[in-house]
């Protein structure tokens, strides 16, 4: 059984059919790519997966449970975490606090025990602190723990955002154009990082990306979206040679 199963997903904005009859199957520990030209509806799909938009039709099943139409903040508890195309860190909080945010929805201590600081709450807080430091160490960012997130260089901010998403203990990690604004060397590092995360954390990753090279390198399976329609799905080499995909990307003459 696949981890994420999207069937006949459709959304309309007024008269505009933004995504029509979209299907997607992602298995356990799979590296999946979603590509398509500008305005194809990739981000719209992403927003439906993360609860930002409620689909007009179709279903999203994750881990055997329907998740379409639930609130964004409840998606995280279903073990789906995401990053943003235009990095959204908590800029005035420290790197450490940012990562700890990932654990926060899992915290058991209530409001009252937080205010009077029960021994249990203190222990829980210390445990979170430890875990966050461990995660930062894995990302080689332990020295930056007390920096404000907004003061990090761009590449580090990307990594921090991924670390924060991982702290939320996802089974599926959604990365929205992680290579945007990166130079070739940083992109190469990112490729390694994504593979390594999958192996280390044993999770599935869905990647939305413009950078064809990155997607072809990293992903085991790819779905192509064009004008809100599913164009093709398959292994990278199949996609690479699919005439319809080439046409969508390069125009008729390219094909």
């Amino acid at each position: 059984m696949s981890l994420l199963s999207v069937k006949n997903l459709t959304i309309r904005f007024g008269g505009l059919l933004a995504v029509n009859d979209f299907n997607l199957e992602i298995g356990e520990q799979e590296l999946y790519g979603l590509i398509g030209p500008n305005g194809a509806g990739k981000t719209t799909v992403f927003n439906m997966l993360t609860g930002v938009y409620t689909p007009t039709g179709g279903s999203i099943t994750f881990d055997g449970e329907r998740i379409d139409g639930i609130k964004p903040y409840n998606i995280t508890a279903k073990h789906i975490a995401r990053t943003f195309q235009n990095i959204r860190l908590f800029g005035n909080l420290t790197v450490l606090q940012n990562v700890m945010m990932g654990y926060d929805y899992q915290a058991k201590s209530g409001l009252f025990s937080s205010i009077i600081r029960t021994p249990k709450q203190i222990k829980e807080e210390e445990k979170m602190h430890e875990d966050a430091m461990k995660l930062l160490t894995i990302f080689h960012m332990e020295d930056l723990a007390e920096e404000k997130a907004k003061n990090l260089p761009y590449g580090q901010q990307r990594r921090l955002e991924i670390a924060r998403a991982l702290a939320a203990n996802p089974k599926l990690l959604l990365l929205d154009e992680p290579a945007a604004g990166m130079n070739p060397q940083e992109t190469a590092e990112l490729t390694e990082l994504i593979r390594w995360i999958r192996d280390e954390f044993k999770i599935s990753i869905l990647l939305i990306e413009h950078d064809m090279k990155l997607v072809m390198n990293v992903c085991e399976k790819i779905t192509v979206l064009s004008f809100g329609q599913l164009l093709a799905a398959g292994k990278p080499e199949e996609i690479r040679n699919n005439p319809r995909v080439i046409e969508a990307y390069l125009g008729k003459r390219g094909a």
């Binding site: 993360t50 609130k71 964004p72 903040y73 409840n74 998606i75 995280t76 508890a77 975490a81 995401r82 943003f84 959204r88 860190l89 908590f90 800029g91 005035n92 909080l93 606090q97 700890m100 945010m101 990932g102 654990y103 926060d104 929805y105 915290a107 201590s109 409001l111 937080s114 205010i115 009077i116 600081r117 021994p119 709450q121 203190i122 222990k123 829980e124 807080e125 210390e126 979170m128 924060r164 939320a168």
Partner: protein, 334 residues
């Protein structure tokens, strides 16, 4: 965990020493009753301003109706002690509770609004509360309520102010709930993506903050012994906001400093000379505007005063002092 408790014991000892020093100064008459009154006034408004800082500085929700919640607390407690003979402390709890419950009821619909719209809405709410009280005879109407017992002594104000400070400190800086509250101010969309129900945390912060305003209102009623709707109109909300912003939004020690300066300053100016006395509100206004122009983030920014920070600060002063004295010595030798 041990370290955390050690730290708390130190803080409690520090507070007891501070309290003792104040008491000695009062008893020996080194602080006279006039200054005692000003100090108590600072304490009362500090409690309200701390609550406002939680809403405005930490949660980033722009409210201009904070004084209305003070008035709700003031009227609740005054009616309870005066008409029903309820003990003072119980009436204070009721004041805080009533304000917090009302904050939840009105916060639920209006906290969906953001920025200026929220500000306008809370301002409107404050005016509605004022007009409502003015028109209810049982609450004394526009004449207000007089003859409230004088109960707000230094001890109760000191303890409650320290308590409110500690509540916000613990919540914001040492808990997941606090980080959730901070994340609402930073980026609501990212917060939701991290599993935070942002509306819920806005309401929690609003309720706690307004509860503190209610508590301060209750203390104020039993401090000035007279309350009327006009003493809690929107200009009072503005005043509270100036305390918070001057000290630094998102700094609790800043709120202590801001509140102390802005309440003490007009009083101090009043004492200087007749000319200053006449122009004191004008001077106050000019100082407020220049403060905003030259240090818009407030005195403390988002930093807190810490023991390490103080040591560092005094170390710097010492070094400056030493280097200047050595240069004087060098001058002598030459």
């Amino acid at each position: 965990m041990k370290e955390t408790y050690k730290k708390y014991i130190k803080v409690v000892i520090g507070l007891i020493v501070a309290y003792a020093v104040f008491q000695i100064l009062f008893q020996t008459g080194m602080i006279n009753s006039y200054y005692n009154r000003i100090i108590r006034q600072i304490g009362i408004f500090l409690i309200s301003a701390l609550g406002l800082n939680l809403i405005l500085g930490f949660t980033g929700q722009f409210t201009l109706g904070h004084a209305a919640f003070m008035s709700i607390g003031a009227y609740t407690s005054a009616i309870l002690t005066r008409n029903f003979g309820v003990p003072f402390l119980l009436a204070l709890i009721a004041a805080a509770f009533t304000a917090a419950v009302l904050a939840i009821i009105i916060g639920y619909p209006i906290l969906r609004l953001t920025g200026d719209y929220l500000a306008i809405c809370t301002l409107g709410f404050g005016e509605i509360v004022k007009v409502f009280i003015q028109n209810v005879d049982y609450l004394g109407g526009a004449r207000g309520i007089s003859g409230i017992e004088n109960k707000s002594g230094f001890t109760v104000i000191f303890v409650l102010a320290a308590l409110c400070f500690a509540i916000i400190m613990n919540l914001i800086h040492h808990s997941s709930k606090g980080r959730a509250i901070l994340s609402v101010k930073e980026d609501e969309i990212a917060a939701q993506a991290m599993g935070i129900n942002t509306t819920k945390y806005k309401i929690i912060a609003f309720a706690i903050g307004c509860g503190m305003a209610g508590l301060a209102g209750g203390l104020f009623a039993h401090f000035s012994q007279f309350i009327d709707p006009k003493s809690f109109d929107f200009s009072k909300s503005f005043e509270l906001m100036t305390y918070v912003v001057l000290g630094g939004m998102g700094s609790l020690s800043g709120t202590v400093i801001g509140t102390s300066i802005l309440i003490a300053l007009p009083e101090w100016l009043r004492g200087l000379s007749d000319v200053v006395k006449e122009y004191r509100m004008l001077i106050y206004a000019i100082m407020l505007v220049s403060m905003m122009l030259f240090r818009p983030q407030g005195i403390m920014g988002t930093k807190e005063i810490t023991v390490a920070g103080l040591k560092n600060f005094f170390g710097k002063i010492k070094r400056i002092f030493r280097s200047s004295s050595t240069s004087v010595n060098k001058g002598k030798e030459a």
